[in-house]
Symmetry: C2
């Protein structure tokens, strides 16, 4: 293990690039990374009341959405910037890109800036595993994975390594996406098969994961496909106007959510009346509410992605990067000998420079634009 | 002029450090920088209706506040991260620190990440000048400057270079802050004098700028200090529970604000009833509402800092940095040959590595934490 990168001054920000996070995952191992992320998420969800929470702040356009997701406890503040642009893949760009910041509540200093595109896929998969561990049948072995895009491999591996899933049946309207997933996961112990329909993939599955990207009210799962005892891990219905499940699927299931005010707006729950009953997952994780209560019960985790998972992911990245010596210092904040002397950053160094600067400043360029 | 730094791939983010922005100001000149910022702000305020606006999202703690300030038009999204921690100076840290991002609405790509601590002081001063140009008496020559902390020099210079202020009378409870300001501005054409009371500083002033940092309901200006024809540039009352003006000062004045919903919560306006009349400044800048209507009128700009000024500042920084070749590329986003193949970032390169990785992944470290 290398020595951690030393932050030279308290106002420097540690920066983790995409390459740093990829190196971190490679050194830790993807299974262990997912497990650690799940542990951090579990730890934070179990102290749910410590957090100052709000629904994310979204800016919608015709092409997609840009969101800010802040959250804080008494010690640490975190936020994520994330976009969702389904048509980006046509431009060769990811649908979802993200970065985030951890900051010190006592001073406001942003201590860590990290890529979160890769990390969002990892933490979303870890979150799904945390929920499924509380909600799916413990003997679950077979999963259907509908939507084989950027996040699919991470979901597959989280369920393989953390839940014991051995077989995954795949479906995507884009056959190339399914082929890519099968190629990426060919050396794992997973048994993978491509299906020609959603129904074929879902039949006999213990867990059904939906992680599609279309920003529409789609109907990926209809009630006739749902079998007793299934756990549905609904990941792709996560934006106003973007759903994956027929309303009757929600009615047939016990529905669990991250943060109810946000899921009512963004989740598949957006289709249901305001009094449709749901349980916040933290209550189950703290044994304050039941999770699965019978073999035959249908459980649904209406996952939308909540700021707390990013808080957990940033916290893990900070700890793991420090242990591995990854990252570099970024000069995002000024270092001032006198904190009230911000002007020292632009003060001319000598009388001559000051005079020259004053002459330059007096030039007639200084006229207001029309 | 150097060639602009070329962004190699569409997913790289241009980064401007504190040193880059300081170099930019030094090369452009502080007067010209303030003037250009004022021009950009004026241009954006005149197309107010183009913007999707919201009050900033604040996370309060006992020591201070951390805020996110997003705004977007159809082309460009911007947000700023900014803190306010009055006790930071005791730790040798600035009270206010900030950074911000410009992003492409069509794809969600963050194209620019910049320091905004220095830039916030510059843009706040430029905004004050834009407002004063519309609201102060055109023959204004003397200003009182109450609060001589980190932002004070920038306010002084904006009023000197952009408004023609020749004399500034200074007051701060911290005499060292005043001395620092006088030393910093000794080579400018400004006549500066330190006063022993707020009343002494304010007497006979054409413009009164208050820019104090205490997070309390302070009363910097009382009605007896206000003279006919004064313009008050109230900068420091910008947070719930943080005000500078006696309510009767607001009643005596015509009050102008940036974005009414935010100023009602954060400005000195927070002390007034919900129906207390104010005018949004953009209406004056578009000639849709009167600014100053008489010599004797008392005008007040209840400045709280609005996301649009940061949008303007980031836009200016992007343009000026490109022209001067400042900044560097930051690997904040992944570059993917296939945008649906995010997993390629962590895929083992060979079958052997994959097998080793699978073995490592199968180790008993993979157990859920208790």
């Amino acid at each position: 293990m290398k020595h951690p990168t030393l932050i030279q001054t308290p106002t420097q920000t540690q920066f983790l690039s995409v390459e740093d996070v990829a190196a971190l995952v490679s050194q830790v191992g993807i299974a262990a990374t997912l497990q650690r992320l799940a542990d951090y998420i579990l730890e934070d969800y179990r102290r749910w009341q410590d957090f100052d929470k709000c629904a994310r702040v979204a800016s919608h356009s015709s092409d997609g959405v840009i969101e800010l997701m802040p959250i804080a406890d008494a010690i640490t503040y975190a936020f994520k910037y994330v976009n969702g642009h389904p048509k980006n893949t046509r431009l060769g760009l990811p649908t979802v890109m993200a970065f985030g910041v951890l900051a010190d509540v006592a001073t406001g200093i942003p201590v860590l800036l990290s890529e979160l595109t890769l990390s969002t896929a990892l933490r979303t998969a870890a979150m799904s595993a945390v929920a499924a561990r509380a909600l799916a049948r413990p003997d679950s072995k077979r999963m259907a994975l509908i939507g084989n895009g950027a996040q699919a491999e991470f979901q597959a591996l989280a369920f393989h390594y953390l839940l014991g899933i051995e077989e995954i049946r795949l479906f995507d309207t884009d056959a190339l996406a399914t082929r890519k997933l099968m190629r990426n996961l060919q050396h794992t112990g997973l048994r993978l098969s491509a299906c020609t329909s959603i129904a074929q993939a879902v039949r006999g599955a213990d867990i059904v994961t939906t992680v599609t990207a279309d920003k529409t009210n789609a109907t990926i799962l209809t009630p006739d496909l749902i079998e007793p005892g299934m756990h549905i891990n609904g990941v792709g219905g996560d934006c106003p106007g973007k759903t994956e499940l027929h309303p009757e699927v929600l009615r047939a299931a016990s529905v669990f959510v991250q943060y109810e005010p946000q899921t009512r707006i963004e989740g598949d729950l957006q289709q249901m009346p305001a009094d449709f009953a749901v349980t916040e997952l933290w209550q189950v994780l703290r044994d304050q509410a039941p999770g699965r209560t019978s073999e035959a019960q249908i459980t649904l985790f209406d996952s939308v992605g909540f700021a707390l998972e990013d808080y957990s992911a940033l916290r893990y990245l900070r700890d793991a990067a420090a242990a591995l010596g990854l990252g570099q210092a970024l000069s995002l904040l000024p270092e001032l000998a006198n904190p009230k002397d911000l002007f020292s950053l632009v003060r001319p160094a000598s009388h001559e420079q000051a005079a020259a600067s004053a002459r330059a400043d007096a030039e007639p360029a200084l006229a207001w634009a029309a």
